[in-house]
């Protein structure tokens, strides 16, 4: 078990947003977390990354407790996140954003290899290497955010809504990329609104509702689950 989240409670001020989350991720898996808006998916990821501190519960990564670590230490454990809403460094260039992704990396040759790989993945980034990230279009920024997270050569990558705002062709590309990233040995936790695509890609999935995990199963089983179909896969379209 690579990542183990036990009984996680998180509060914003006095309001509790997570009421005891249990989930685990095995090495090499793609695990997706589904849930309506405001269910607490992003909160979960932020807490795993150490930006939020749990009021109760534990997070273990590769046998180490990381819930007590400051966020920047967690990154050194090779657990990185591409956050919701991109959060690229708007007045830095694309290049500088990518460099920051490798902030804790020690092996420069490896970094350069990764950079080339990322430019293959997203040629648009290479084209816009010295443009300020803030002037990129929404989609371009999303690519940059994912690319930046990959620069760290993570063992586990947390992706929070990576397809948000992307053109269909890119959404496909992103999902393919995620698969590719996973094949290259990176474990992935994927939070997605695009439930169907996410479940197709993932090995397992969790369903969250208002701060709790309500369902956990293999991805195929979830795809077939009628209540999941109704709630997240959209009944309306023909």
């Amino acid at each position: 078990m690579l990542l183990d989240v036990k009984n996680l409670h998180v509060k914003y001020g006095t309001v509790e947003a997570l009421h005891g989350i249990n989930l685990h991720v095995d090495e090499g898996e793609i695990v997706t977390i589904l849930g309506a808006n405001g269910a607490g998916k992003s909160t979960t990821l932020m807490t795993i990354s150490g930006l939020l501190k749990p009021s109760e519960g534990e997070i273990w990564f590769d046998g180490k407790p990381i819930h007590t670590m400051p966020a920047h230490k967690v990154v050194e454990e090779k657990l990185t996140q591409s956050p919701e809403g991109r959060r690229v460094f708007s007045t830095l260039t694309v290049q500088e954003n990518l460099n920051l992704g490798a902030f804790t990396a020690k092996n420069h040759k490896r970094v350069e290899e990764t950079r080339r790989w990322i430019f293959d993945l997203f040629p648009r980034l290479k084209e816009r290497k010295s443009q300020l990230a803030g002037t990129l279009s929404g989609g371009e920024q999303q690519m940059l955010a994912i690319g930046r997270a990959l620069m760290n050569n993570p063992r586990i990558l947390l992706l929070d809504e990576p397809s948000l705002g992307l053109a269909p062709i890119l959404v496909k590309a992103i999902f393919e990329t995620v698969a590719e990233i996973n094949k290259s040995g990176v474990t992935v936790v994927l939070v997605e609104q695009n439930a169907k695509a996410a479940l197709k890609l993932a090995h397992r999935g969790y369903v969250m509702e208002v701060g709790r995990i309500v369902l956990e199963d293999d991805a195929d089983a979830l795809l077939a689950n009628p209540s999941v179909r109704e709630a997240y896969l959209g009944g309306g379209k023909k």
């Binding site: 589904l34 808006n37 709630a231 997240y232 379209k237």
Partner: protein
Amino acid sequence: MSLLTLDNLIKDFGGLRAVDEVSFDVEAGDVFGLIGPNGAGKTTVFNLITGNYVPNQGKVIFNGHVLNGLAPNRIVSMGVARTFQTIRLFKTLSALENVLAGCHCRMTSGSIAAMLKTPFQKREEKEAIKLALAELDFVGLSEDVETRSDSLSYGNQRLLEIARALATQPKLLILDEPAGGMNEQETDALIDIIARIKARGITVLLIEHDMSLVMQACEKLVVIEYGKKIAEGLPEEIKTNKKVIEAYLGTDDDEEEEGETCF
């Protein structure tokens, strides 16, 4: 006569031509979609219409008036309302007050009237609140009237932006990726709202990457790439347009039965 006409619009950012001679007409009463790859210049086109950017060349004609050079708030009061790609609500204010911002341009009483609390001011205020409540009901936020807007869920914040725009009583509503961040169920609800907006006689111009929404909601589509218009037509035509598939939709290698509307 068309409600909105874009005539050869050009917009440059430094050396980059973000919008390159784009022209199209939006007919009154339509739901009109603008699609294209990321960075194609869609949002920029919207910003040119709403007055946030000034075109380097070309004209925006709305309802017979040239909009070029007018301040955004003037354009709103002429009947063009918008939502933003990245949500821009008044964070610390309640949902109701966010919608009241939209009512603002249809009200007249100023600071002196407020201090004196004239009967007209009181009446106007009450009417505005009624209108705001009605718009909140319309998008389904009647439960959250007094909730601070930044504690609404993401999807609800998008709906609130729509309510705020509707409160300006627009003829043309411009939506920039309204379904962004919504799941499929929420998207379905949005499609319904768009249909009801159209039923109110409001023309809708939208950008969206969610093809299920675009295909269901739009009557007509324009596709741009690298700032240039590459296609225009009915959804079915666009769906099969080779250029569009290549640039935007991607080849459908999905073997699933529901096929093309997956993304």
